[in-house]
Symmetry: C2
Subunit: 136 residues, 2 copies
DNA sequence: TTTAACGTTTACGTAAACGTCAATCATATG
DNA sequence: CATATGATTGACGTTTACGTAAACGTTAAA
């Protein structure tokens, strides 16, 4: 029988590293930075679903070009306590800031994709021209 | 009379720095990396529209988390010569790679925005509850 | 004429994010 | 029992992308 991911409750550091395509060194580094806190079985680390989610969020943030410090702040937004009213306002401001950044990135992506599409169009047109020049 | 941007044909390094919110050091660094090549008027640098476009592309790439090396590759895609057929295939592959990266980033952004929206929803709900608890 | 204001080159410093050993320990397997 | 496998903790090295400071050269204004 295959071991479905959902059935597993814990992973070693090497398993996580393979699954996410990062080194064990990187995973330990994120822990040293206080971004993951795996269980300890004696000397060894044991990663649970919660830790995997964390790692996934970290790597997603990295793909978007956020620094680890920024990623930490974003993750902190996720697992906060309900909190007091005054805190909540400040909290909403932080969320708004992050959203603004993300929307800027989204615009940047749209522009770049448009430009790439144009370059690709030129390229394909040129290819067709060469095809005719070849006498086909 | 105001000097419209479109009328200007050249800028000093300090003007560019102010306009784009970067340091002159950074601009010179991009030049040292071969990403910009401003005209020289004796000792001084003179930036033309073409250089501004370059700088804009560099900064956009940075916002998306690309390294300068990657940004250089992307820019190289833009100002290439038509080229030969064999080169064009390779060229199209490069474009496809970049597009895949950008689309991954776009998915990452969508996910993060969704999560932030959920967190914000919880936050606002909590605020309304507090409002009622306050007796208003 | 001196003193800002703006520019230049050269060079060393630095923060972030790991990479890369080395030494050590536990377990497991032939 | 010896060796291989996988983990651990230091600790120093490396790359990227500039920051920062020194030393110097031009105008331009007081």
């Amino acid at each position: 029988m295959s071991e479905l991911l959902a059935e597993r409750a814990a992973w070693t550091i090497a398993e996580l590293a393979r699954e996410f395509g990062v080194t064990t060194r990187a995973i330990r580094f994120y822990e040293a930075e206080g971004m993951i806190a795996p269980e300890r079985q004696g000397q060894h680390r044991l990663y649970h679903p919660r830790d995997r989610v964390r790692l996934k969020l970290i790597l997603r943030g990295k793909r978007l070009g956020f620094t680890l410090a920024e990623i930490r702040e974003i993750i902190d937004l996720y697992d906060r306590e309900p909190g007091e009213a005054g805190q909540l306002d400040h909290f909403l401001e932080k969320i708004a800031e992050r959203r603004a950044e993300l929307e800027q990135k989204r615009r940047d992506i749209a522009l770049t994709l448009d430009e790439l599409a144009e370059v690709e169009g030129n390229c394909r047109r040129r290819l067709r021209e060469l095809g005719r020049t070849d006498g086909r």
